[in-house]
């Protein structure tokens, strides 16, 4: 039982990291209709940037704002300089996916060229361990969960109550009609990538913290989790991604308590293929 609860605890942390990543990914898809498979690469680039700053003496938490800004700017450039030109040319969705894979190679192995291929870790004290009702979590893990909850709340407030959130939802639902309402969809898209890019950077750093050690290709497998969460909830659905993250995060860790830890990702894999095969619009998406 304690094993199970410990697994749930891990699951919560994984779900927290996954939520930040998946919501960002799904919002990018929602407004631009592009599966940005380079998302994982931007995450790991952010993680490594934090590592470099960390090695230079900065605490990982202090490095966070720098990473967030850098990944935000990088993501905006990625969309405006690469995806948008291809889309304007009428590139098919599959071409865009291949382009995103190319970008993944450039970023991930660019990082590897600079930082070497070995795994690295942050200098970060895990803090005291806290126990609550059978769950065992370190202070850092709790901090990650807290950050994630704050981000989710922020996304919720933004989507439901802010003008930008409304504009994002309108642009995702019907861009032409949104323009008829006077919404400047071009700016909305840029702002969306800036915000989701920031989330991507944040996700990268907490990923690095949670993983303990990471290498430039560590997010390859994590991308599978992101995709599983996104497709479970429905591509483009922010709340779906949150739900998906919770389910996938907890399910993978809990499964590790029963089957060998190396196979825990199989759960995510199965979920993803099932969703693609049965209901690609996801649990919260409208039936196509």
């Amino acid at each position: 039982m304690s094993l199970f609860l410990a697994a749930v605890g891990f699951g919560l942390v994984t779900a927290a990291v996954l939520a930040i990543a998946a919501v960002g990914f799904t919002l990018q898809f929602g407004v631009t209709d592009v599966l940005n498979l380079a998302y994982g690469a931007v995450m790991i680039a952010g993680a490594f940037l934090a590592y470099v700053l960390n090695q230079a003496g900065l605490s990982v938490w202090a490095a966070l704002p720098v990473v967030i800004v850098a990944c935000s700017a990088g993501s905006v450039l990625l969309n405006s300089r690469i995806y948008t030109p291809f889309k304007q040319r009428g590139a098919s969705p599959i071409t865009l996916v291949i382009v995103s894979l190319g970008v993944t190679l450039i970023i991930e192995f660019g990082v590897q060229a600079l930082a070497g291929g070995t795994s690295v870790s942050y200098n970060l004290a895990q803090g005291p361990t806290l126990r609550a009702g059978g769950l065992i979590l370190t202070a850092v893990q709790i901090a990650i969960i807290g950050v994630s909850l704050v981000v989710m709340a922020g996304v919720h407030v933004m989507l439901r109550y802010s003008k930008l959130g409304k504009a994002m939802r309108a642009t995702a639902a019907n861009p032409a009609l949104a323009r008829n309402c006077g919404i400047r969809t071009g700016r909305v898209i840029t702002t969306t990538w800036a915000i989701t890019g920031a989330m991507c950077g944040l996700a990268g750093v907490v990923f690095g913290i949670d993983a303990g050690s990471f290498s430039p290709t560590s997010t390859d497998v994590f991308l599978v989790l992101i995709l599983a969460a996104v497709f479970l909830g429905g591509p483009g659905q922010a709340y779906g991604a949150m739900l998906g993250a919770a389910v996938i995060g907890i399910a993978t860790e809990v499964s590790a308590a029963f089957i060998a830890a190396d196979y825990k990702y199989v759960v995510a894999f199965v979920v993803l293929l099932l969703m693609l095969g049965i209901r690609p619009s996801g649990l919260l998406g409208a039936r196509a």
Binding site: L37, V97, V99, G102, T104, L105, E108, V224, Y265, V266
Partner: protein, 627 residues
């Protein structure tokens, strides 16, 4: 340059070229984006390994793996191909359905990532991340594998197999089956409506590509005698995609060129860069990966067709030698034209296929008198057709009959139910109630492709040509029952399907002549103007040798002069025995060409007669003005 270096280079070239050919067939020819391609090569490699290895207790038992049956050459390589092919089957669910292309590709990508993870971690299967080593060379027990002679022979065999794969793929691609694959790539919805079985076609290329990938994996494993999961992350698939894109997707020589340029050159370039202890150990390989990523993006932007783009299939014009026989002129043959003298076998099967069609069929555009067409006979009859959908009654008790040899117009304001009625007659939409009969046979419940086989064929409103096929290829793709239009037929080669093809080309020629597009025969259909593409659509429907055509707004958006020419052609077809029912908005056209004309409004038939008669009727006038 020493000999072993050259041997190494050639073996890798053969293996990579083979893999790229398989991938190009899937991605470039058939439009199936298989991001999991590497798993098939890996599976083949492992299959070859465990088939060739002695039981895992041998060699001191330091490795654990399943199998170990110590089979002699060439069984491990055969097994590799078989396993690679079979592995494709579970994944067909991702490509058969109407799943967005990028979603399906992602599913395959994820599979590659996860399978690699599983194999790396599950030791009893393939020895975990250590992989398998000490894999025997082919015929190791009989020959001395370390001699140069052996190595050269091995190399020769690998290259021969690669050439064999190349020739085999060429053969099936330059066949009607290959044409169907390319049509599916260009527009799968339309290919489906022409009767191509998408699931079967895609499964076919997945299995074939998988088998080729598996074979290449088997060859590689036998050469390097070790194999480990680290060699196949999903990044390896990306390298192969880069190779195919750069070399030219859809062109087999392009695939080989890409294989030489990307994996091989990249591998070799690193040998010549001076190594230095100052550089981080991973720098050069990492930069190689960066370069590959850059090349992908750059090529997709500047030259997406690759260095060697897909060739246009130009068909000899006019069709050579074989004279048209009298039987051809009647058009009385079955789905693919007369087999001609000499091939008794072919004639027998053609006759068998002819039996599928009802006996009474007027001559198609092949010209000549309608054999026994009783003009005026009722061909299509509908009684009390109703269509309810979403709480709206789109068609409200329509009854009509269409007589052979007539060009009937179906008009009415927007929302009158014309297109819905047409779709019900064609079988693309089911009727809520009522009956439809064709040549006296009740077809009310029959699906569209069956009605097409009976000779009742429809066209669609929206652009539906195959853009990267020539006009002639577009027409040929519609021929039903073509012998070459299956994998088996394609493998048997031109000798098997050549006659069907010649007959089809002859029919297509006549149609092109008739509709004035002869000079466009070898142009890409995507390059034609809107009106010309309309004509291609109609001609393509005519290639199926229908006895009745249901045309859905054939003149929409067409220049009035061309519309008139199309109208003339349709009238001429009817003189030759064709029957046509045509939905149109261009009422001036109705004037000149159609008799009778049926007016619909609000789901029901309002009146029938010539346009002049109808214009004089006030309820018709009102219907149009009221809308």
């Amino acid at each position: 340059m020493n000999a072993f270096y050259l041997i190494n280079l050639l073996v890798y070239a053969a293996v990579d070229a083979m893999a790229c050919l398989g991938l190009s067939q899937q991605f470039g020819i058939a439009g199936v984006t298989n991001f999991g391609f590497i798993i098939f090569q890996a599976a083949g490699g492992y299959a070859a390994a465990i088939l060739a290895m002695p039981p895992d207790s041998a060699n001191g038992g330091f490795q654990r793996y399943i199998g170990g049956w110590h089979l002699p050459f060439p069984l491990p390589w055969l097994g590799a191909a078989v396993v690679g092919g079979l592995l494709a089957l579970p994944f067909t669910f991702l490509v058969g359905r109407r799943l967005r292309g990028d979603f399906a590709a992602v599913g395959l990508l994820v599979t590659a990532v996860l399978l690699n993870l599983l194999v790396t971690n599950f030791v009893p299967l393939f020895n975990g991340d250590a992989g398998i080593s000490l894999i025997p060379f082919p015929l190791q027990s009989v020959l001395n594998a370390s001699t140069q002679a052996y190595q050269w022979v091995f190399t020769a065999v690998a290259l021969l197999l690669c050439v064999g794969v190349y020739l085999f793929l060429r053969r099936i691609t330059e066949s009607p089956y290959g044409r169907s694959l390319r049509a599916m790539r260009d527009n799968d919805v339309v290919a489906d409506s022409l009767g191509k079985n998408l699931l079967s076609l895609r499964t076919g290329v997945l299995v074939l590509g998988g088998a080729i990938a598996g074979l290449s994996g088997g060859i590689l494993v036998s050469y390097i005698t070790t194999w480990s999961p680290a060699a196949w992350g999903y990044a390896e698939t990306v390298v192969l995609f880069a190779a195919v894109i750069i070399g030219g997707a859809g062109n087999h020589r392009g695939a080989v060129l890409g294989a030489i340029l990307v994996p091989v050159v990249f591998e070799e370039v690193t040998r010549f860069i001076p190594s230095s202890n100052n550089l981080p150990p991973n720098l050069i390989p990492s930069l190689e990966w960066v370069a590959i990523g850059l090349l992908i993006v750059v090529f997709l932007w500047f030259r997406p067709q690759g260095i060697l783009p897909e060739r246009k299939r130009v068909i000899a014009w006019p069709a050579p030698a074989r004279p048209l026989t009298a039987a051809d002129a009647d058009g009385a043959g079955a789905g693919a034209g007369d087999g001609g003298a000499g091939d008794g076998d072919a004639t027998a099967t053609l006759a068998a296929r002819a039996a599928e069609r009802p006996v009474e069929r007027p001559g198609g555009p092949g010209g000549g008198q309608a054999a026994d067409g009783a003009a005026g006979q009722v061909l299509l009859q509908a009684a009390g057709l109703v269509r309810d959908y979403g709480g709206v009654r789109a068609v409200d008790g329509v009854s009509l009959s269409v007589r052979r040899g007539t060009l009937t117009g179906l008009i009415g304001p927007n929302g009158a139910g014309k297109s819905t009625l047409l779709a019900m007659l064609a079988g693309t939409l089911p009727a809520s109630s009522g009956t439809i009969s064709y040549l006296g046979q009740d077809i009310t419940g029959m699906p569209a492709f069956r009605r097409a086989r009976l000779g009742l064929v429809r066209t669609f409103q929206l652009a539906s040509e195959f853009k990267r096929l020539t006009v002639l290829e577009n027409l040929l793709s519609a021929v039903p029952g073509h012998r070459g239009d299956s994998l088996r037929g394609a493998v048997r080669g031109r000798r098997y399907w050549g006659d069907d093809e010649q007959a089809a080309i002859a029919r297509a020629e006549q149609l092109l002549e008739r509709f004035g597009l002869r000079e466009m025969a070898n142009r890409y259909a995507g390059d034609l103007s809107g009106g010309q593409r309309r004509l291609v659509e109609i001609m393509r429907a005519l290639m199926t040798e229908p006895s009745m055509l249901l045309l859905d707004e054939p003149m929409a958006g067409v220049h009035p002069n061309l519309a008139r020419r199309i109208g003339d052609q349709l009238v001429a077809l009817c003189h030759d025995g064709m029957t046509i029912l045509m939905v149109e908005h261009e009422l001036a056209i109705m004037d000149e060409f159609c008799d009778p004309v049926i007016v619909m409004a609000e789901g029901a038939v309002l009146a029938e007669g010539t346009m002049r008669q109808l214009r004089a009727r006030s309820e018709v006038v009102e219907a149009y003005l009221v809308g």
